[in-house]
């Protein structure tokens, strides 16, 4: 993985296959959980936009 070319050292790897066993899937449940947060974010953005417009 380590390579030295002239005065330079860097780390480069070939394409080892992805190991899905170590990661989490972005499944339907994730979509459901995050949709709630996105909707909530929209509401908060609107609420603060109005508050700032009236200078409170």
């Amino acid at each position: 993985m380590e390579k030295i070319v002239g005065k330079n050292r860097f780390y480069i790897a070939d394409g080892e296959p992805i190991n899905k066993g170590i990661g989490f899937n972005f499944d339907k449940e994730a979509v459901k959980r995050l949709e709630v947060l996105v909707e909530e974010n929209k509401k908060i953005t609107e609420k603060y936009k109005k508050t700032m417009m009236v200078g409170v």
Binding site: M1, V5, G6, K7, N8, R9, F10, Y11, I12, A13, D14, G15, E16, P17, I18, K20, G23, F24, N25, F26, D27, K28, E29, A30, V31, R33, L34, E35, L37, V38, E39, E40, N41, K42, I44, T45, Y48
Partner: protein, 190 residues
């Protein structure tokens, strides 16, 4: 929202590192979440680098929004990249080296981009997984074509009529080796 694809190449079996602008877009547009699910179904892992997480959370001052953003970025649908100190040291060396390659190539080409710290660290991640990692970004110019290939582009027509473009880029090892060799020749000139 309407999505159109440029290359229509399936991105399969990849680590997809999400840049902050891509992640922020997903946080604003819930339709994009099902597009991420489609990517996950094709054996891809959605990855969030530590610096991207930092960028996503910084400068937020509304208390409710801070909590929302923290919950969003920490969701288990996203995978945090390896952040141990040994990996960080390697990423740092790669980032400095890449910045030299970019600067050298800038002198030789019409490349106008000026990638920031986070972009350099994301590019360093791509070096660590050359064939299996891609970055999803709206700032395509921060990943110069002298080293990176665009493997797919998403054009998104938003409900407000605005058009957004996101690229999926990977490091091209042949281009990389050519740039390294050109820099090496320059450094060995007397």
């Amino acid at each position: 929202m309407e999505y159109s694809r440029f290359n229509n190449l399936d991105i399969e079996g990849r680590y997809i590192f999400l840049d902050n602008d891509f992640l922020s877009f997903v946080f604003e547009e819930k339709d994009a979440l099902s597009k991420l699910q489609e990517l996950s179904e094709k054996n891809n892992l959605l990855m969030i680098d530590y610096f991207v997480k930092f960028e996503f959370l910084r400068e937020v001052f509304i208390p409710e929004k801070i909590n929302l953003k923290e919950n969003f970025v920490s969701d288990k649908g996203f995978n945090s990249s390896d952040n141990n100190f040994k990996t960080f040291e390697k990423l740092q060396e790669n980032a400095i080296f890449l910045s030299k390659l970019y600067a050298h190539q800038k002198q030789k080409t019409n490349y106008k981009g000026s990638p920031g710290l986070v972009d350099l660290f994301l590019a360093s991640r791509l070096m660590m997984h050359t064939e299996t990692a891609v970055v999803a970004t709206g700032n395509i110019k921060d990943f110069p074509a002298t080293l990176f290939d665009i493997i797919d582009v998403w054009n998104v027509l938003q409900q407000d009529g605005a058009m957004r473009t996101f690229g999926f880029l990977k490091l091209n090892k042949e281009k990389f080796n050519r740039c390294v060799s050109e820099l090496d020749k320059l450094e060995n000139k007397k």
